[in-house]
Symmetry: C2
């Protein structure tokens, strides 16, 4: 557990809810005994003051966003959350009280998702920097990205856009039940959560992103029917609504690529309808993403999605 602050150790020490196979932390390591035969999924994420949240946001909001955006990655794998570890680096002037409120809020959030906290680490930094590592149990074949055949139908859950401007990004809703149902019943060819905006995330699914080496993955494209995109209520009368829906980011909805033969069954699945899962377009063999209007005409849209400004 490294350098730790005794006052919050109690929070780390007692995993709650208790879970068979997740040992009490407090030692240097947490002892984990996953259920035999189940694959694990591991993901890590960060929440940083001034990047993801404001200095004025209360500790509860930090805890919520940290855990929920990390859970969203498990949702994208159709996994069941199993155990959490997290780290906090906090400015000393925030004080012990803020730190304890954060630790309690994280634990309460984890409990709400049935997730034991199996340890963590505490340190100092000039701004609040939180990280979370989650382990999940796989519920079937993990879809991942970049394994498309060029003929899939694309779906998204919920509605897109306005998450940042409305403040919804502070408490995202991880689509865990949706992801699990899709993996268990429809074996998606690819699935991911939308964190940086459709214009930035979709290319990652298609294997056209610069992070993938040329030739490593087939370069598919996609036709997106813009009028089919479910945009957030408050954006509907707004001319910039579409730009926000595809480029504002922090939606944490699922983007799903399904084999064409499953389109009908998915559209008729009442559980999936509850999550507002709807068809938005097609994967096509031609590279590039086209946004089409009602008449099938290609539109030029300005939206680039979330990006850091590295020199």
């Amino acid at each position: 557990m490294g350098v730790a602050e005794e006052a919050v150790w109690d929070i780390f020490r007692n995993p709650s809810p208790r879970r068979k196979g997740v040992g009490a932390p407090g030692d240097d390591c947490a002892l984990l005994q996953p259920p035999p035969g189940r694959s694990l999924l591991q993901t890590c994420d960060q929440v940083i003051e001034g990047v993801h949240l404001l200095p004025s946001d209360p500790p509860k909001v930090y805890a919520q966003k940290l855990l929920r955006r990390c859970l969203s990655d498990l949702a994208a794998a159709g996994a069941t959350p199993w155990a959490a570890q997290w780290t906090m680096a906090i400015p000393p002037e925030r004080g012990r009280r803020w730190m304890l409120a954060l630790a309690k809020a994280f634990r309460a959030e984890a409990e709400a998702f049935g997730l034991p906290v199996a340890g963590g680490d505490v340190s100092q930094a000039p701004v609040v920097v939180l990280t979370c590592t989650l382990l999940g149990l796989a519920n079937g074949k993990v879809p991942g990205r970049g394994k498309l055949r060029g003929n899939e139908t694309l779906f998204v859950s919920g509605s897109l856009g306005g998450a940042v401007s409305s403040g919804r990004h502070r408490c995202p809703e991880p689509r865990l039940a949706l992801g699990q149902r899709l993996v268990e019943h429809y074996a998606p060819r690819a699935m991911m959560d939308l964190s940086d905006g459709l214009v930035r995330d979709l290319p990652r699914m298609l294997g056209r992103s610069p992070e993938q080496k040329a030739g490593q993955v087939a370069a598919w494209g996609a036709d997106i029917r813009l009028p089919k995109l479910p945009i957030a209520n408050e954006l509907e009368a707004n001319p910039a609504g579409w730009a926000s829906a595809i480029g504002e980011g922090e939606d944490y909805e699922l983007l799903v690529a399904l084999a064409p033969r499953q389109t009908k069954a998915v559209a008729e699945d009442r559980v999936l309808q509850k999550f507002g899962l709807r068809e938005i377009g097609q994967v096509v063999p031609q590279a590039g993403i086209r946004f089409l209007d009602d008449g099938g005409r290609s539109l030029r849209l300005k939206a680039k999605g979330w990006e850091y400004g590295w020199r």
Copy 2:
């Protein structure tokens, strides 16, 4: 994987060395299939500019310290390193080059320890904040802390003190082989790595630390023979040498509590001698830590170990 910077994705994408059961990252989660029947150990740690390292330290030093202090936690559990995930938050003005050098150095370090990197996350912060989460495979009963019977013999490896002042703390040596051998052959009653100094870490092992609820763990004490403490060469002629050896911290040596009947076998084990494992004292039923001189007289020492200054 959340918000990520494409330029470093390649580093995260290809786990190297490859390992059966550790899936290629690049998706939202890493897919892990641990060997059947083996328990896992999980630990996380942080390295922060201005707290653990200087702004002027090169990226390689950041990578080394991050991975090695986290490996030291696995060593304390006698575990075999199995998979790593890590996060970086870096000031934009450090630039892409520094970030890439860090990512490459981390990967090279991980390779040197036979450890595949199974994903990570990249973001921004006003100072460098790095975290690392490691999974290890258990090699026997995990010793942990706080399960003492009050009659154990205490050992430490290597030498203590001077790690910070000499700069050795920047590249600690995780005692993996030692930890594994002890767990496999001697089933220690307790084992931990010394990161905050003996005066601060020993009470944690004894169950006397304020982080443990009253009554939860028996309150043992320890008698430490000060002349038996292996202090770092450069401190031997230094009157403050002892204070550094017990309170400077960042030693990353192992502190081990063994059943009395194993003292002789351990002292004669040539592999353990190679790590400089030596007896330093006894766990005793009376609470409190006493430092004794050659004649068995109790000494008063001023050293408090590493502590953050929370308000």
